[in-house]
């Protein structure tokens, strides 16, 4: 996938990044911005003149566990960061998926990549997304200007929240050169409740019942039988899973309540902390879909509508976020997939396979988004075309 013909720039400082971008702008060149490069296949850029790699910006800058904030350069590897915060009894609350294997990529995903793609794991439903923990930044805009926004404290409303704009921008607005994120204490323990053999609709009802109880569920996923039968699970029945995290007494108490509540959906089994951790890693990394030639879609819809994806489209599905995130492996016509996602009040992104990756926008929203792109990158230097038109 790596375009070997393209020149690679690997600046070591923010100022050098600014210089590379400014020079590209002056020369009318287009840059492909890359962290670990693991997500390059999603909306792959065509015809970039050079690659701007952030591998040279991979230092930790400041980590103050007692302030719940961490500042780092964007090229720092997620794995490195996860170890660092775990050593202090903390976690990245948004539980970013790595997805390298899912995408058949070599290399290591980075913090900057997780933030610009706004990637969030199963804990999204309880703790929020990457964007919710992105507190501050230094970045180089497409104009080659080094700017700061946000701050290094957990509560701040000074100026526009440009961190939110960068989260999910896939590198099309600015090149991050330093980021500050919020971290939280890691849960002392976790426990997962399992239900078996539910169809998608019934599983959706079970997840809704659990999420609507005061049980602080921090993971709600459903693997239909066709998905659960694949490796690594290799089960015989559909599996519906609900995760509880926190202090021991609290987890035990909430588990007791949920077991009672969920009785009407069948027998409830428990996964202990170690197995629970492993199960949710498999869900987060979508391991059931690591192989296969059909297109792989990531579909985001209102949670209670999720089951309709499996009902109305051919293929296999995996539901996370209580039904709000549907992974679909399917050879259905892309227009049909996008049409259904839109009809359900959501959108679809193509993660693997031939076709347009990102949901095309239309009307005033498309025009406004194009003006926002032009505000940061009027010459189209950064990852232009990656998000489709605009």
């Amino acid at each position: 996938m790596l375009d070997l013909a393209a020149r690679t720039e690997t600046p070591k400082t923010a100022e050098e990044v600014a210089q590379v971008v400014a020079e590209a702008g002056a020369a009318g060149s287009r840059l492909e911005v890359v962290g670990g490069g693991t997500k390059r296949g999603i909306g792959a850029m065509q015809g970039a003149d050079a690659v701007l790699s952030l591998a040279g910006l991979s230092k930790m800058i400041d980590y103050a566990p007692e302030e719940l904030v961490l500042t780092a350069q964007p090229g720092v590897k997620l794995a490195t960061l996860e170890k660092l915060v775990a050593a202090q009894g903390q976690m990245l609350p948004f539980e970013p998926p790595h997805l390298a294997k899912l995408l058949g990529a070599r290399g290591h995903p980075t913090l900057g990549g997780a933030l610009t793609a706004n990637l969030s794991g199963p804990r999204r439903i309880r703790c929020g997304a990457a964007r919710d923990h992105f507190l501050g930044l230094q970045a180089v805009t497409g104009r080659g200007e080094l700017v700061r926004a946000g701050g290094r404290v957990v509560k701040n409303v000074t100026g526009y929240d440009l961190c939110k704009l960068m989260a999910g921008s896939w590198g099309t607005l600015a090149v991050l050169t330093e980021v500050t994120i919020k971290v939280l204490p890691a849960a002392r323990t976790e426990l997962t409740l399992l239900l078996f053999g539910l169809d998608d609709r019934r599983a959706g009802e079970a997840m809704t019942a659990a999420l609507n109880a005061p049980a602080e569920v921090s993971g709600a996923a459903h693997l239909p039988a066709a998905t659960a039968s694949r490796p690594p699970l290799r089960g015989e029945l559909a599996v519906t899973a609900l995760r509880l995290e926190g202090f021991e007494a609290s987890v035990t108490s909430r588990a007791d309540q949920l077991v009672t509540l969920l009785k009407r959906f069948g027998r409830v089994e428990l996964l202990d902390a170690g197995h629970s951790d492993e199960f949710w890693r498999q869900v987060r990394e979508v391991e059931a879909f690591h192989h296969g030639l059909e297109r792989l879609w990531r579909i985001s819809v209102p949670p209670a509508e999720g089951w309709r994806v499996g009902e109305q489209l051919p293929g296999v599905t995996l539901y996370d976020w209580g039904g709000g995130l549907v992974w679909l492996q399917s050879d259905a016509d892309p227009a049909q997939v996008r049409g259904l996602a839109r009809a359900l009040g959501g959108h679809a992104t193509l993660y693997r396979g031939e076709g347009v990756a990102f949901e095309p926008l239309s009307g005033p929203l498309a025009a406004l988004s194009a003006r926002v792109k032009a505000a940061f990158d009027p010459l189209g230097v950064l990852n232009s075309g990656r998000l489709g038109q605009g």
Partner: protein
């Protein structure tokens, strides 16, 4: 604080503007008479007052769209307003502009239990959302102190916080979608009921944009399930340092309380005199730590927090034994602002955030500044997230005191930035902190933010004079300057 000089030509067109707006919003929807405009002259930052040309109170998105499109075509500035409770002057009118009041957008459109969200109009008050869903076991988490009056539309504009932010986030973390109308009159939907939306996170940048990017006409908020139990612990300390250290210990123990509030001695004394909450009068600093969740969790963690406080030499440790007692602990804190209002003719509330470890240093520096300015100060503090609310005591009837209070406030905020913090944690920049933006941001940083403004409102007609110390014409900002380091933009006149 200087506002832009009114455009005399526009002011002279007042009668014509009112007539045109009445055609767009019939009935009682347009106020132009001087007496009718009086209630709209200021917001919660009442030291500033200006009379707008007119107030328009639309009832439909189509009317909002028509009003904004007409104003854009006629070069009329627009100041959006919810309940007018902003503490930073976000809804301060312009003499040559209209106020667009959203109070009539007061309906809850949809409560969706299965998706744990509610779709509401922007004029619905913050507390009314919780009131509408609590019977079903839900609530809306952000709880600014003004929640009985402030509207959700204003909360979106200001990214409002509250005492439960550390655990549950600000407004921005509790929204799923909204409908906004651009100054052009175009209606744009951002987000929906799902957890993310296609394209850029424009909802994220509109939230907290202080009414400069678009007018919110509908909001979809996340609903949370109500915790099973809540327990508060009242802790008194002989020093601010000991209280601050306890806050750090609680977080280091892996506990994220639902709320963790600190008050210094002047605030304790004022609150106790006002509501008689039973606060310890021998304490230099008071902490209220609230834990919520299952009963078992509240019991375990409240005992743990009490232990940590004891180890730091707490002089008072009381855990609420009933809901009434929990509310009594909070009564003093929640009444802290009016309580201070009783001991001083006027007070000026600041809103910086600092890294928590800087608290003893910052409080002692504030005390010293108070001596130098000859003004008293009481401090309340969202201790968990480092958001400081110094209340500067002054008397507006005494010549020079308002100016001294403002200068004192500015010095406090500069100090917050100098120790690694920010100008505003939850109240917004507005007009109040506009001229301090340079303390945190370079001209390049501000130009970058203003280009976002230009993408939404290229004529700069929506709430101008707020947030940015200088407004550059969008055409100037749009030019591409490839060279770096040089001054990219000519200095435009300051207003």
């Amino acid at each position: 604080m200087k506002m832009p000089l009114p455009d005399a030509a526009l002011v002279a067109r007042k009668a014509e503007i009112v007539r045109a707006l009445k055609r767009l919003v019939p009935g009682e929807g347009v106020i132009g008479d001087p007496a009718g405009l009086i209630p709209f002259r200021s917001d919660g930052l009442s030291a500033y007052r200006q009379t707008p040309l007119a107030v328009v109170l639309p009832e439909t998105t189509a009317q909002v769209s028509a009003v904004l499109a007409w104003c854009q075509a006629n070069g009329v500035k627009v100041v959006p307003r919810g309940a007018g409770t902003s503490l930073s002057g976000g809804a301060l009118p312009l003499q040559d502009g209209i106020v667009l009041g959203m109070a009539k957008f007061n309906r809850i459109l949809d409560v969706d239990h299965a998706n744990r969200c509610a779709v509401v109009q922007p004029g619905v008050t913050n507390l009314a959302i919780t009131a509408a869903v609590e019977a079903d076991g839900f609530y809306y988490a952000p709880d600014p102190s003004s929640q009985i009056a402030c509207t959700i539309g204003g909360n979106v504009a200001e990214n409002s916080g509250g005492v439960h932010c550390l655990k549950y986030g600000l407004t921005t973390n509790n929204l799923l979608g909204c409908e906004i109308v651009l100054m052009s009159g175009e209606v744009v939907r951002l987000g929906g009921k799902g957890f993310d939306a296609a394209g850029y996170d424009l909802l994220g940048v509109v939230t907290g944009s202080e009414g400069l990017l678009g007018v919110v006409t509908e909001v979809t908020v996340r609903l949370l399930t109500k915790p099973q139990a809540a327990r508060a612990i009242l802790l008194g300390f002989a020093s601010v340092e000991a209280a601050g250290a306890t806050v750090g210990d609680v977080i280091a123990a892996g506990v994220i309380p639902a709320g963790m509030e600190m008050m210094d001695r002047p605030a304790i004394v004022a609150a106790e005199a006002f509501v008689g909450a039973g606060y310890p009068m021998d304490a230099e600093a008071l902490l209220i730590v609230e834990l919520d969740g299952p009963e078992a969790e509240c019991a375990e963690l409240s005992a743990h927090v009490a232990e940590l406080a004891r180890a730091r030499g707490a002089t008072t440790i009381r855990t609420s034994q009933s809901e009434a007692e929990r509310l009594a602990f909070w009564a003093g804190r929640k009444a802290a602002f009016p309580a201070v209002g009783r001991i001083s003719p006027d007070y000026y509330c600041m809103d910086g955030t600092i890294p928590r470890r800087q608290l003893p240093h910052v409080l002692s520096a504030i005390g010293q500044m108070g001596l130098e300015y000859g003004l008293g100060v009481a401090n309340v503090f969202h201790a968990g997230d480092g958001n400081l609310h110094p209340l500067i005591l002054y008397d507006a009837d005494k010549p020079g005191q308002l100016e001294a209070a403002e200068a004192f406030g500015a010095d406090i905020l500069k100090l917050c930035v100098a120790v690694g913090g920010v100008l505003t944690g939850e109240h917004g920049v507005g007009v109040e902190k506009r001229d301090l933006m340079g303390e945190m941001f370079s001209d390049t940083d501000l130009a970058c933010q203003q280009r976002v403004k230009c993408a939404f409102d290229p004529e700069l007609l929506l709430n101008p004079g707020k947030v940015f110390p200088r407004l550059h014409r969008c055409a100037e900002l749009g030019r591409v300057h490839v060279h770096r380091g040089a001054t990219a933009f000519p200095e435009l006149p300051r207003f």
